[in-house]
């Protein structure tokens, strides 16, 4: 269900400990710190292994996240805006990651450009509450989605390379 390279990526992202959602104001700050620590470590890991692929930041409450992700295909870099809200039921339910500019361009998306996750993602997430955080959602959810969908969309001519 999870391939070896994803497994290795995952094992290098710190696990989180605090079970708190955005409605629990005080404890949520602690959880948010853990989220940032895990994300920073994950981005550092990616940089070291030459597979840097996203940046994220949040509003000061840590309830709205936004940033960029990119995918290399035939030596060209395709970049997309990423955004998601932290649901009230987080971390029991994972964030629904969206790529708004691809909304309507692929069937593997729900309204608003939310990516369609595999059948494996939710059970895996459920088994790892509250240890998995945003970094894990990116590694397990968005990364494999990009790897499957973007080459396909490029091949079909639905997305084209834009000089930045």
């Amino acid at each position: 269900m999870v391939d070896d390279s994803t497994r290795k990526t995952l094992s290098n992202i710190p696990l989180l400990q605090i079970r708190a959602g955005p409605r629990e104001k005080d404890v949520w700050v602690q959880r948010l710190k853990e989220e940032y620590q895990a994300l920073i470590k994950y981005v550092e890991n990616n940089k070291q292994s030459g597979s840097d692929w996203f940046r994220l930041e949040s509003n000061k409450e840590g309830t709205k996240w936004f940033g960029k992700c990119w995918y290399m295909h035939n030596l060209l870099k395709y970049e997309f805006d990423v955004e998601f809200d932290i649901p009230v039921t987080y971390p029991t339910t994972a964030p629904e990651i969206a790529l708004p500019e691809l909304d309507g361009k692929t069937a593997k998306m729900y309204r608003g450009g939310k990516i369609c996750l595999t059948d494996h993602f939710k059970p895996l997430w459920a088994r790892n509450v509250p240890k998995f955080g945003i970094a894990h959602a990116m590694a397990l959810g968005l990364a494999p989605w990009l790897a499957v969908e973007i080459p396909d969309l490029i091949e079909k001519g639905i997305i084209t390379y834009k000089e930045k």
């Binding site: 497994r7 409605r23 930041e57 039921t89």
Partner: protein, 402 residues
């Protein structure tokens, strides 16, 4: 044919007036306006009485005092394939008040389902539904909210609407119906109803459109949505033959209509106290199998409000079920010419604990394995978060500068 500017302006002016006040052309206008409100539900059997067939339920001894339905308020979360039909049915039944929640727009891709029409494409689902429902039955009070309930800000508005939006202002609604298509929204409804102690029905149709279910959740009394992994109807389709490539979800008007029918039937039974309300009713469309069961709450549920409700429920004195003594001890049917017999329904009751996977009824399964509570090691990872010495602001700045 060339027109002068003033001629064109006159034409536009006339068209504009027509838009505001449609031309009275015989009976057409009357049909467009629908009917007037009625003050009381009448049992009079005349063609012009919109409630005659519903009030007949009283005469048939099915429902006592049908008109109580006008005192009831129901919140419907999700006005899609199941929710819109649910709202339609409750409106035709003369429900007192409906509160609709959805943040989606009507699309042509929705036309394989019931209720919405192509001319409504582009409108918000709540606005489109509100207009149609008001036209069908102007006696129903309709409140609409066009937002996603799972985000922090909207969740509070949602809580407020369901706990203050009853038929009597400031009172909670009588029931919340979940007609959403995703786990996140179901968990949000579950959290809200556990917190405010509101009874609700969960409903759903599988992504391959060949099964559906409804589940009645009474906080503390039956399992909440977080007590165990979602209970789904086993379809017995070989995973290998199930193709999901290139699409997120399939849907059929039949499965959705049937699920909405099950839902509203049980809502009516609950609101008007007749028959037996099902705790869980499933539908397997491939084999026409309808599993039923009851799921008890999990004493180790992750939702702290669920645990509070469980304690309250246990402390509450249980109503004593008075068995009606049959006046007539003689067999109901002395002869049985056709050899008809009753077969006991298999409706197992299960009690999930987090240590072992709950045993579910025949034809049902859990959506996935329940997470192990005590295990510290994950099968995927071993690292733990470093001790926190940096402030949140520092971390945010560090992340931003990467």
């Amino acid at each position: 044919m060339p027109y002068a500017i003033d001629e064109l302006q006159e034409i536009i002016g006339n068209l504009r007036t027509e838009l505001v006040e449609p031309i009275d052309s015989g009976g057409v206008n009357n049909t467009r306006l629908g009917r007037d409100r009625v003050e009381r539900m009448s049992a009079e059997v005349v063609d012009s009485n919109p409630y005659s067939r519903l009030m007949a339920l009283q005469r048939m001894n099915i429902v006592k005092d049908y008109e109580r339905i006008r005192d009831k308020a129901v919140a419907i979360v999700g006005v899609g394939g199941v929710g819109s039909v649910t709202a339609d049915m409750l409106t035709r039944c003369g429900i007192g008040k409906l509160i609709l929640f959805d943040y989606d727009k009507v699309e042509l891709a929705n036309m394989n389902r019931l209720f919405f029409t192509p001319n409504q494409a582009g409108l918000s689902k709540v606005a489109a539904a509100g207009a149609t429902l008001n036209f069908i039955n102007p006696d129903v009070e309709i409140e609409m909210f066009n937002f996603n309930i799972t985000t922090v800000d909207n969740f509070d508005r949602f809580l407020n609407a369901i706990s203050q939006g009853g038929r009597i202002a400031g009172q909670p609604v009588d029931l919340v119906l979940s007609c959403v298509d995703n786990f996140e929204a179901r968990m949000a409804i579950n959290a809200a109803c556990n917190e405010r102690n509101l009874n609700w029905f969960e409903s759903g149709v599988s992504e391959n459109a060949v099964s559906g279910h409804i589940q009645f959740i009474r906080p503390g009394d039956t399992a909440c949505f977080a007590c165990a992994p979602p209970l789904v109807v086993a379809e017995n389709i070989d995973e290998k033959t199930l193709k999901k490539e290139g699409v997120c979800a399939a849907s059929l008007p039949t499965t959705m209509g049937i699920t909405a029918g099950f839902l509203v039937q049980n809502v009516l039974k609950y609101l008007l106290n007749f028959g037996e309300v099902s705790d869980y009713l499933g539908y397997n469309a491939l084999s026409d199998f309808f599993p039923k069961m009851t799921l008890k709450p999990n004493p180790q549920c992750d939702d702290s409000n669920c645990l509070v409700r469980q304690m309250e429920f246990q402390a509450k004195p249980k109503p004593v079920v008075v068995e009606e003594k049959a006046d007539n001890e003689e067999p109901l049917h002395a002869t049985n010419e056709w050899g008809i017999e009753l077969v006991a329904e298999n409706a197992p009751e299960i009690n999930p604990t987090s240590t072992e996977t709950p045993v579910v009824g025949e034809g049902l399964k859990l959506a996935y394995e329940a997470p192990e509570k005590s295990s510290e090691t994950s099968e995927e990872t071993v690292t733990t978060a470093p001790p926190d010495d940096a402030s949140l602001e520092d971390l945010m700045a560090q992340m931003k500068s990467m």
